[in-house]
Amino acid sequence: MERAVTGTGAIRHWCAQRISALALIALMLWLIEAIFAHLGEDRAQIRTWLGQPVPAVVAAALVALAFFHLALGVRVVLEDYVQTPARLAAALAANRIACWALALIALAAIVTLAFGL
């Protein structure tokens, strides 16, 4: 069973949340620019764009860090609001599984696009 963040775990959680936040500032500015640059493009154009190495690598970094940051944030929310230990354990596990699954699907999609598979 996963336990609430305490002791050194809490410090690591705190640091990880902030370091990922710092990196995500730059990545989100990139995302906003990318959304405007590729607004209304069809599938072929999106595939060409993410088939290039730099956009693919930046997108992969964004996906990895965003889901890492999301998992940490949702964990704190669940720890604050879910009352019973059993429900909290289930909710924390669901959070981890959902964030991992979404991140892996997104990364697999980016790899597929990057290598034109």
Binding site: M28, I32, L113
Partner: protein
Amino acid sequence: MSPAERPLSPHLQIYRPQLTSVLSITHRGTGVALGIGTIFFVWWLSGAAWSGACFSAAQAFWDSWLGKLFLFGWTFSLFYHLLNGVRHLLWDIGIGFDLRSTYRTGWTVVAFSVLLTVFAFGGGLYVWSAL
């Protein structure tokens, strides 16, 4: 359980909301909203990688009024969480932690979140419709 005889601290429902607490819970709310948004983002990205039908369905969703409403919510959530996140990072290194600065930066975050949302969403709609 018998009712407590001692005085109880005021609970959430009868507490007058302050800017500070409202902005704090909004940070959480926008974070969770962005998390839900990632599901739609992954749907669209999967479509780009593996399925033309899936990609078209995702694009059609953004074109619908519900899709636009969601996009508007995520646009605001992104700008708010980004700007208020910077505010949090500055607090973490000891900047702007006094009450006066907290209120000043708080209202700044609110104003810029609204302005950037209107500009980005309006600009996006304009570019989209001009295509």
